[in-house]
């Protein structure tokens, strides 16, 4: 119980500085970049999540910081010069701040706290006293936010990871916004005793982690995670630090490789025969992969060959069955039994993936397809209608709006973004 909340070496944490979050794997003597500082995290090791740290300069270095445990944030901003009633006398001609750019930069060398910096800025501002109380507050918090030097560590959760990836770069998660993720999971009806297929062409492991999280620890649910490349993306899965028992119920397979196994029974037979993979078959598979994979993912193909080569070595040396073949065989077994949910999040056109994978979905179970664009989902909608295999098919997207809620200053946030599109439906016996 105690350890669960400790910042122990080897574990992934979310480093939080106000609204800014960053995934950080704790090392005994690690460093992490925060703003333009390299921060040594040594002093946080074995502290607890949510313990507060202040970034303090290390020695005379302008670039290095260390962390110091504190119990509260110093926000004692001093200003006694009064305030104006409105901003009629404020002229923004860029001369109100008497400190030069160089002087301000010097303030930020790390030896001053954010409060000290803000106090300096205020003391040297010609117009601060004539700003309204409201503008002064805003100025202070804006500046303090900029120079804020307090951080804490916390345990990664699906919510935090989803928000973090999306904020850093939506393409890291194929454009899946938090609301999209939440609805993919809901419409897929993830139950703790279910078996699911996920096709994911690259969400940094977020989709896998989210489904695995919903399946839960010490349950019987299983996930077959199909990916088009060689290695599956798994940052989010690692960050979630699932127990081995739970992790082992997620079977990661290459979609081409597992389908070949399914149709041609090769790995399964091979497992039975306990014979090494035949040379020819490996070559054949590589070529097939080359054919299947689009131009854009050529690097992945190269990597695949490397891995297959090393797999081959393993086979010929130790006469052991390579891991990926065991995974394929395990996955094929689940495919034969049929699954309780099919989730497809693709950057490709998902029509062929849908066509191929729906055969594995049991009736009365849900399929969810996410795509950033609506048009591919329209195509699938028409295909499904024609097939008569699905009912209750819906295509939707969301409008999400965040609000600032403050006394007398409540309004929607000025910036917003647009999410992707979701198609879902239930399979029936046609």
């Amino acid at each position: 119980m105690e350890d669960e909340h400790k910042i122990t070496p080897g574990r992934y944490t979310i480093l939080q500085r106000q609204g800014y979050t960053k995934l950080y794997k704790v090392k005994e003597n690690g460093t992490v970049m925060i703003r333009h500082f390299t921060v040594e995290t040594q002093n946080a090791v074995n502290a607890k999540f949510f313990d507060l740290f202040q970034m303090k300069p290390k020695g005379n270095s302008r670039k290095m910081c260390k962390l110091e445990r504190v119990t509260s944030v110093d926000d004692d901003i001093k200003h006694t010069g009064g305030s104006g009633n409105d901003n009629r006398n404020i002229i923004d001609d860029g001369t109100s701040q008497t400190l030069t750019k160089e002087q301000i930069e010097e303030l930020q060398d790390g030896s001053k706290s954010s409060v000290e910096i803000v106090n300096q800025l205020i003391a040297n501002s010609k117009t601060f006293s004539s700003k309204t109380g409201y503008s002064q507050e805003k100025y202070k918090s804006k500046k303090q936010k900029k120079y804020y030097e307090y951080i804490y560590f916390r345990k990664p959760t699906i919510r935090i990871l989803a928000q973090m990836f999306y904020r850093q770069d939506p393409t890291k998660v194929l454009g899946i916004r938090t609301d999209d993720l939440s609805q993919i999971l809901a419409y897929a009806n993830i139950q703790t005793d279910g078996k699911y297929i996920l096709f994911d062409s690259g969400t940094s492991g977020l989709m896998t982690a989210a489904i695995l999280n919903a399946i839960g620890a010490n349950t019987s649910g299983k996930l077959v995670h199909m990916h088009p490349g060689n290695e599956c993306q798994k940052v989010a899965v690692q960050a979630m630090d699932f127990p081995q028992e739970q992790l082992s119920r997620c079977i990661n397979v290459n979609i081409y490789s597992v389908l070949r196994c399914f149709y041609q029974n090769s790995e399964e037979n091979m497992l039975k025969r306990k014979l090494p993979l035949e040379e020819e078959e490996v070559v054949q598979k590589k070529m097939k992969l080359d054919d299947d994979v689009e131009e854009g993912i050529k690097e992945v193909v190269v990597a695949t060959e490397e891995v297959e080569a090393s797999n081959k070595n393993e086979v010929s040396n130790g006469k052991k069955t390579p891991g990926w073949q065991i995974e394929n065989a395990k996955a094929c077994e689940l495919l034969r039994e049929g699954v309780d949910g099919l989730i497809i999040v693709a950057k490709e056109h998902p029509a062929s993936i849908v066509k191929e994978l729906t055969q594995f979905l049991n009736v009365s179970r849900n399929m969810v397809v996410f795509h950033l664009l609506r048009e591919p989902l329209q195509d699938i909608y028409i295909d499904l209608k024609k097939s008569l295999e699905f009912v209750n098919i819906k295509v939707s997207n969301n409008f999400v709006r965040n609000y600032q809620v403050l006394p007398d200053r409540t309004h929607p946030l000025v910036n917003m973004n647009s999410g992707g599109h979701i198609l879902h439906g239930q399979k029936v016996q046609s």
Binding site: Q183, S364, E375, Y403
Partner: protein, 325 residues
């Protein structure tokens, strides 16, 4: 009985979803007899727009198969919380799937989580909460309306979910949540007219390691009071948002296209007929509804930090005003 886990065959007592069209989705019980108004047992018959369906007929059928009605047919499906939300009988205003999904994700629920909900209302949200936390977790749901609490309790029993949920008939604003839950809860959800009155009680319920809170309110004044109360009680990451979903109708539209090529050629005497001939072009499109809900409620989320960080003074939610003027 059919809400707990994955089921393939309908057994007696199961709730079954009858799907006729997207707008005709019904919940039916697979039972031979039901009590009529006088309390006598009579055969259970459900009237659909396509003819009557005997509850008995469903028993032994497989979920996902066709069922014949006298004037048509439909499909029977195993209920999911999402289908239930569409089919349930409203006893109060209910929360719908787009908000529900956001709530379960942002409350960071997973199997094993312990969650408090108030009020229970029609149990629309409750079913999704239970799915997220079972089999090891638990939902404690509170409603001060005795009949609603009783019906909900019976419904969870009928749905085979009773071991994952406890229903209380209690005024949470006056009396708080059960003291027995103090320090035991991962998440608190409020859908109340005065959520700010329940927040001080909710604080005590959180586990020492903290957790998440959500309040759903239709009015912005409720949100403002709630946010003030959350700050007062040292919640962090206070965030308010709304989610609106648009469902598209996918259609192939046939549109007329004007022919103008012929205008480039000199006019001929005998082609008077095909001059204004129009071409038809097919185009695939997705059309939003003519009118749809433009507001459901504001969702306010917040984090209760762990006990060792609760009294700590931070300025994490400094004025996040991004309005530059």
């Amino acid at each position: 009985m059919s809400f707990d886990g994955c089921k393939t065959v309908v057994t007696e007592g199961d709730t079954v979803i009858l799907f006729l069209t997207v707008n005709q989705v019904y919940a039916i019980t697979a039972e031979k007899k039901t009590k009529n108004k006088n309390g006598d047992l009579v055969p259970y018959v459900f009237q659909t727009p396509y003819g009557a369906l005997k509850g008995e007929q469903l028993i032994g059928k497989e979920f996902g198969t066709k069922i014949l009605l006298s004037k048509g047919w439909g499909y029977i499906l195993q209920p999911t919380p999402e289908l239930w939300t569409v089919a349930l009988r409203h006893r109060t205003q209910i929360i719908y799937t787009p908000d529900i999904s956001m709530i379960t994700l942002q409350l960071e629920l997973k199997p094993g989580s312990v969650v408090i909900e108030s009020g229970t209302g029609s149990g629309s949200l409750s079913h999704a909460l239970i799915r997220s936390v079972k089999p090891h977790g638990h939902l404690y749901t509170f409603d001060f309306h005795k009949e609603r609490a009783d019906i909900a309790r019976q419904e969870f029993q009928d749905h085979g979910l009773q071991e994952y949920v406890t229903v209380y008939n209690r005024d949470v604003c006056c009396n708080g949540f059960d003291e027995a839950l103090d320090g035991k809860v991962d998440a608190v959800f409020l859908d109340l007219p005065h959520p700010w009155l329940a927040i001080p009680h909710g604080v005590n319920s959180f586990k020492p390691e903290g957790g998440r809170l959500c309040s759903f309110s239709p009015c912005i004044e409720q949100v403002q009071k709630t946010c003030l109360k959350l700050r007062e009680h040292h919640f962090q990451e206070i965030e308010t948002l709304e989610v609106l979903q648009t469902q598209f109708s996918v259609q192939t539209r046939r549109l007329a296209s004007l022919e103008m090529e012929y205008l480039k050629n000199p006019k001929e005497e005998n082609d008077g007929d095909n001059k204004c001939e129009k071409q038809i072009v097919s185009t695939l499109t997705a059309i939003p509804p003519l009118s749809q809900p433009g507001h459901t409620g504001y969702l306010t989320f917040a984090t209760m930090p762990p006990i060792w960080a609760r009294s700590m003074k931070t300025i994490d939610d400094l004025d996040n005003d991004d309005n530059e003027n």
